[in-house]
Amino acid sequence: MDRPHLKPDFAVNPCFSKDRRRFIRKVLDGTIAGSLLLVIPAGAELPVIPEQIKGLRDKAYDIQKQQFAFIVDITRCIGCGSCCVADKREYNVPDGNYRTWVERYLKDYEDNVYVDSPNGGLDGYQEPRDDLDVKIRDTFFVPKLCNMCQEPSCVQVCPVGATFKTPDGFVLVDHKRCVGCAYCIQACPYSVRFLHPESKTADKCTWCYHRVRRGLLPACVDVCPTGARKFGDLNDAESEVAQILKGPGVLTVLKKEMGNWPALYYKGLRREVV
């Protein structure tokens, strides 16, 4: 009788696991020796994390020449809410406020669309909706986050220059300058901004600028198990986002008629989504 070869069970052999640990450390040290260079701000901890955005770490960061894009693939979102959890943990986002969220769309046989987003999708979608008395024909999930508009209406209305677009295309908030007037919150067509209850300043998704500058993917992109969220450097022609953007597929943006020119693109977006 031929028994299939079973791999050694590491739990049974502790010595093996210690060697394994050392081995992995060496491997990681080897590959990253050269790439963890001067890009990381002085004084910051040097984490043992390999570069996730190719080529960003091996040269100085030229803020005038960088361009990034974020693509959300609706056909792959399963509504698990990992992105929302990771985002909340990365920034300690206060309850009731959302930097990113996932919406659930239900369509019945009369073409009526029912949308909900319980707690922004933070707990995932455990159960189907029980408050609707209709037969559901179709469902899909839509993650939403800051559209990082190229002509942001929030920047236009800020009275003190506390929110701004950086030369590398990120719309950020200067928490030392913001007066908490909430004009930017009114002006955002996508409702991605909120007033932070502790600092009393405006806040929003920043596409994890502090991670991107260190060559890492935004937290929500990193944890997405299905690849529904994609982020990349447009200067790298081989990156997934560059190839999708330059390819023939249909990419849409939200509320195009607003004229904000978002840098957040949706692949497979349905017409029911506003």
Binding site: P159, A187, S191
Partner: protein
């Protein structure tokens, strides 16, 4: 009709985006345009006399300016109560963004305040010089400051004063207009909100500001005179009521034109505005703002202006209609500002507004802020008498 094509079917799930649940611009932001509108309206009343020479308004010309000043002094209070970081409020004057309507507020306030206070000081100069000469010590110093250290009331000086007053009053019209008009544009320039974004917004705000200003002057004039048991100049009230009629017709016409345009053009997110006015705002818009507080005054004003009415009827009717119109303008501000924020940017639902009682933007705070201008008016009337026996100035 197939729901796939029907815009209003969007509202079926009442979906409000997660960050849209909270209404950020609350009652304090309703009060700010209300107070600055009263300033603008009161100034326009004074300008009718000082620039356009409407003689029948002489009795309340000076009074209107003091009234405007009382409100202008506290117009910054609701804003500072609203800001998340009021201690940084001056940032708006240190680094004002050239693309932000709100950034203009600080400088516009400064210019308006300067023009108004100078106009008042010039108008009252004779009285103030007299007070300076008759008092001692700290009071004398106070009046010296107010007269800029000059006690020259010669004919030459008074002729110069007259020219300055004409200049300041004329300058004051565009200044006061822009001071309130920018608020209208502040809302009108927000494309993300279908209820706010319209070029008509500054126009609507300005005309209803004039309505509130005239109504405020009429009501305050009648009430103060009644309290002091003094005579009311009925010709003055008549002119004011006629002017009020004209301005209100314009304001109401523009307000209705706005609603009608939306519902006729049926563009973009009109279904949200329609749904708002017929839904959450049905009572406060159609029944209160339009019904009771617009058609009511239109009827009363038509009666008072188009027919010969006795003096007593005019005064009582004028006071009543002024009170109702002050309410109308408050409702209009509420319906636009808070009503507009009830619309979720999902285009699929409406949120709710829950006024707090003891919050810094709560009901108690609102009452407090509304009371302060009247206290200030009383204090100011001690320095600048609202009506002078010897009316020497132009």
């Amino acid at each position: 009709m197939n729901s796939a094509h029907e815009g209003s079917a969007y509202l079926i799930s009442n979906y409000v985006l997660p960050n849209d649940l909270h209404v950020h611009w609350s009652m304090m932001i309703v009060l700010y345009p209300y107070l600055s509108g009263l300033v603008d309206g009161a100034f326009i009343v004074a300008a009718l006399y000082y620039v356009f020479g409407v003689q029948s308004l002489k009795p309340i010309a000076r009074f209107s300016l003091i009234f405007a000043l009382a409100f202008l002094l506290c117009v910054g209070l609701p804003l500072n109560l609203h800001l998340g970081r009021p201690e940084r409020g001056l940032n708006m004057m240190v680094t004002p963004s050239p693309t932000s309507a709100m950034a203009g507020g600080g400088y516009l306030y400064g210019v308006t305040f300067l023009v108004l206070i100078l106009l008042i000081l010039f108008l009252y100069r004779i009285h103030l010089v007299m007070q300076q000469q008759q008092s001692q010590g700290l009071k004398k110093l106070f009046y010296q400051v107010l007269t800029f250290g000059s006690d020259n009331v010669s004919a030459e000086a008074l002729a110069l004063d007259k020219k300055v007053i004409r200049f300041l009053a004329a300058l004051g019209i565009p200044v006061a207009t822009v001071f309130h008009g920018y608020v209208g544009f502040l809302f009108g320039g927000v494309k993300a909100n279908p209820s706010w974004s319209t070029p008509l917004m500054p126009v609507i705000f300005l005309f209803s500001a004039c309505v509130s200003g005239i109504s405020g002057i009429v009501l305050a004039y009648i009430v103060i005179k009644k309290i002091r048991k003094a005579a009311i100049d009925v010709a003055c009230v008549r002119t004011l009521i006629n002017t009020l009629y004209g301005f209100f017709i314009l304001a109401f016409a523009f307000e209705m034109l706005e609603v009608f345009s939306h519902s006729y053009l049926r563009t973009g997110y009109h279904h949200m505005v329609e749904g708002l006015l017929n839904g959450p705002l049905h009572t406060s818009f159609w029944i209160w703002q339009v019904g009771i507080c617009s058609f009511g005054p239109l009827l009363i004003l038509s009666g008072l202006c188009l027919f010969k009415v006795r003096d007593g009827v005019l005064v009582v009717g004028g006071a009543i209609v002024s009170f109702i119109l002050l309410l109308q303008v408050l409702f209009m501000r509420w319906n636009v500002i808070i009503g507009g924020q009830l619309i979720s940017k999902s285009a699929r639902g409406y949120t709710e507004f829950h006024p707090e009682w003891f919050d810094k933007e709560g009901i108690v705070a609102v009452v407090f802020v509304m009371a302060i201008p009247f206290i200030l008016l009383f204090i100011l009337s001690r320095i600048f008498p609202l009506w002078l026996e010897n009316e020497n100035q132009a």
